[in-house]
Symmetry: C2
Subunit: 214 residues, 2 copies
DNA sequence: AGTCGATTCGGACTATAGTCCGGTTATGGC
DNA sequence: GCCATAACCGGACTATAGTCCGAATCGACT
């Protein structure tokens, strides 16, 4: 994971604090890759980074916060693609950054996609992200009670999903967005993976999105 | 909660073991009612029941297991109603135990219900159960990693839901059953409750069941 | 360069879930 | 009624998440 892409620190951060944060993220990424997310304790992360536990928890809040920080770059990439990328994941239309060759409508970029298509593309892309970092997302969602719903990222996915569902004419877009995201929860997907396999989960989730958006 | 309805102990159980189990369940029920599920530790339960921690954990496995044991009676009532009760929750038809006054088809009990109606009735009844014991179910589902999916009760709900969805012609009943149950997870419902309220959650879940079963 | 206030550091401390094993007690056969 | 054995009991022990505050460090200002 490219550490230089991680979330920008607060504007004025002391040099030692910046050094420590980088050391923690680097050590955590290494330990998680080496031993698996489950098997690594916060004590180990702190020791490997050469900082005290107090520092670790003050900077990242709790284990979920550490997970969020590690996922930050990848998450922002996805959010960026949703907000400003080419269709069908993004809105399409002018001024997107995709390859310039495609046939387009409007001034540039890709043709705009309909809400239903955008929703399917979101589910697909989200599952790419989720399956690529399943253990880490699971940690960030289950480390503490209700962690999943408190994190800013969840609200982003929810808002995006609800807007698309509303545009597609759903009766209660807010609720349905939560329901769709429930089927994309890390804990849920991790439990279904051995039973159903990746592709069946993906097909089922996309189909669910389609039925909600009809 | 009527303790005498709790799950039958293994056939040959020593008298002291039976006494201790009853004491634990009684103490746990009292403490949970008094201070809330979250605020009570296993140490407190053991102390209030007058047993050691070893006994508590050997008998119930972990905190989730204690929750399951406490929910057992209520859960079995619901399962019984699903398997053998009157329609639309149960299969209806002969030999049900409902009040004898209704107009019926067949030899006794209620008229049989269609899968879609049974599914809606299940979601409704399950939400009754869930909202009545939300904290306890949440504890039994989240006390340890993947606890929800390992418990026998989950497999029961899933099998029932999947069978109804299959009868209604769903493309992938196994997956859709998991997806519907994901929207009924205690953690999920607890997170949505302050935002949407009980009735909107109920309406949304029933509507979701309807869309999956069409 | 020196000083001073604010920020950060880090390890000792707490709370809690869950494990382990030596001692105790129930129970069934004689 | 007694004994051997198997099951059970319970508290000391471990591991881990998270807290707290005195000490050290930074960096802005003179």
């Amino acid at each position: 994971m490219p550490l230089e892409l991680l979330r920008t620190p607060p504007p004025s951060e002391r040099a030692d604090a910046a050094r420590n944060r980088a050391a923690v993220l680097e050590a955590a990424a290494r330990l998680f890759a080496e031993h698996g997310v489950e098997a690594v304790s916060m004590d180990q992360v702190a020791a490997a980074a050469g900082v005290g536990k107090g520092t670790l928890f003050r900077r990242f809040g709790d284990k979920a916060g550490l997970g969020v920080a590690l996922l930050d770059a990848r998450e922002r990439t996805l959010q960026e693609a949703i907000l400003r990328g080419p269709a069908p994941l993004g809105p399409g239309g002018p001024a997107t950054s995709g390859p310039a060759g495609g046939a387009t409508s409007g001034t540039a970029g890709t043709p705009q996609a309909r809400p239903t298509e955008r929703l399917a593309a979101f589910v697909d892309a989200y599952l790419d992200y989720l399956l690529e970092h399943l253990d880490l997302v699971r940690m960030s969602e289950t480390a503490s009670r209700g962690a999943r719903y408190r994190v800013g990222a969840y609200r982003f996915w929810h808002r995006h999903t609800a807007i698309l569902l509303a545009a597609a004419g759903a009766a209660d877009p807010e609720h349905d967005a939560h329901a769709l995201l429930a089927a994309l929860a890390a804990e849920h997907v991790a439990a279904l993976l051995p039973e159903l396999g990746e592709e069946r989960i993906r097909a089922g989730a996309v189909a669910l999105a389609g039925r909600l958006a009809r």
